[in-house]
Symmetry: C2
Subunit: 250 residues, 2 copies
DNA sequence: CGACCCTTTGAGGGCCGTCAAAGGGGGTGG
DNA sequence: CCACCCCCTTTGACGGCCCTCAAAGGGTCG
């Protein structure tokens, strides 16, 4: 258990995650409002379902520590992973505005969540429009990532998709302070997760992943990922680096 | 030119689009705020680029009439259509929160847009939190559609993807009052657009589309779409009908 | 009438999916 | 401490869905 995998503090003002450079500091007033909004926390073990797919989400969550993913499945079991959730990610907005089931959420690692009641969302907007604006910021940023993923799954081939995923997850992990001194980040996905996120089969994912690894582009070992040749990966994926802007943390 | 393809009125209160059952009525106060937020309108001819892909979007738009689509391309020209924009759709939030280029927007038909300055968005949140909340509603709803599209492109085969697209676009067009008495809706896409939206090639799209049409599932003629056997299409696509809730119209 | 764009159809090939089975590696229980 | 088990990874063989290449047909507009 690293420090990052611990449970959130009682007071949002003491939140260690906020100290990461990836996040924008809040004012004391905003912080108090977030604190009042938060009604609890929740711990989920690795592999457990946080939200089952076919029940409407009735809460809002912020990931404090650990990894998770959102997914949808078809009737015959084909699964698509919609995106991965890392510390600081906000989940559940869709459920607030849709009475029906939308997606499932499953923990990849031990997971700690801050829990917010959906009924409190409107109050938040009313009392602190700035936080409402921040939530829209998160939502729009999320949408930009989804656009990139759709381009990846729709138009990139297997090697390009995998290069994309590796770069993207590495950067996201690095942003929230998960990178080691040796440049490696935790990588708790199995190859099945990679396949389901990229719209590929497990077997083809394995073969492509091994090929990139043999080419010396990355290293995947002991649950950690290192990018040995980021430029080559970016060239393969046609990835264009965008500066990461500090995100609000609700 | 049908009435639906006309330009928006000077006053939001006179907006004919708001009368459609797909939209939630606003209070007079909210309406005034939207009116103040709106700084202009814009007409775009069919096939023209509204926003070039590699320039950051510096405005917010609501589609008043006509069809458009958002897209991204790779360096070698492969294009992915991210989604289609119909009357009432709100575009440009991403640009508000990202200085870099995100996606392009192109008109499928003659297009009329209401234009809002991005700098005004924060004022809107501050003055009318309820409208901020409404924008979040739109954003979350958009995200739900994107999730469904990602599942489609990632895990459905060609026939399933096309069935999905036909049902989905038919319902969206019907919701904003574009359906004819005979149950047909306008369908301004070429097969290349369908292919680019679904991550397929033009040729395979054509073959699959013709197959479904020969099976009597739908009819695509004269720029209009009729679903002759919606149940069969839904069965093929594993589509689950979700009740459409009235959307806020900014 | 020709130019252009979109649609349609055929042929062939390749990327990726499915099937099958062996090879680790970590955890649990004996 | 070892053995077993389960899950994940890895590799090979083969087939099919879908892509690419090519070209003809139709509809619209100048």
């Amino acid at each position: 258990m690293t420090a990052a995998a611990s449970r959130p503090p009682s007071f949002c003002a003491d939140c260690t995650l906020r100290l990461q450079p990836g996040f924008k500091p809040l004012t004391a007033e905003e912080l108090a409002c977030v604190q009042a909004f938060r009604t609890g926390q929740q711990a989920v073990r690795a592999g457990q379902t946080v939200v089952p797919e076919h029940r409407a989400i009735d809460r809002l969550y912020t990931v404090f520590s650990g990894w998770a993913f959102r997914y949808k499945t078809l009737a015959d079991g084909r699964r698509q992973i919609l995106n991965f959730l890392l510390p600081g990610d906000f989940v559940g907005l869709q459920g607030e505005f849709a009475q029906a089931a939308t997606y499932g959420v499953e923990a990849l690692t031990a997971l700690h969540l801050c829990v917010f009641p959906p009924q409190g969302l409107w109050d938040l907007y009313y009392q602190q429009p700035r936080l409402g604006y921040a939530i829209t910021w998160l939502s729009a940023t999320q949408e930009r990532l989804q656009d990139e993923i759709l381009l990846t799954v729709g138009r990139r081939n297997a090697a390009e998709r995998i290069a994309m995923l590796l770069i993207h997850l590495w950067r996201r992990a690095e942003r929230v302070g998960l990178a080691d001194a040796d440049g490696s980040v935790p990588f708790p996905l199995t190859q099945q997760h990679i396949a389901d996120a990229l719209g590929l089969s497990l077997v083809h994912t394995n073969k492509t992943l091994r090929r990139l690894e043999r080419l010396g582009l990355h290293r995947l070992h002991g649950g950690r990922l290192s990018l040995l040749d980021p430029e080559a990966l970016e060239r393969i994926a046609d990835y264009h680096t965008q500066p990461m802007r500090p995100a609000p943390l609700i």
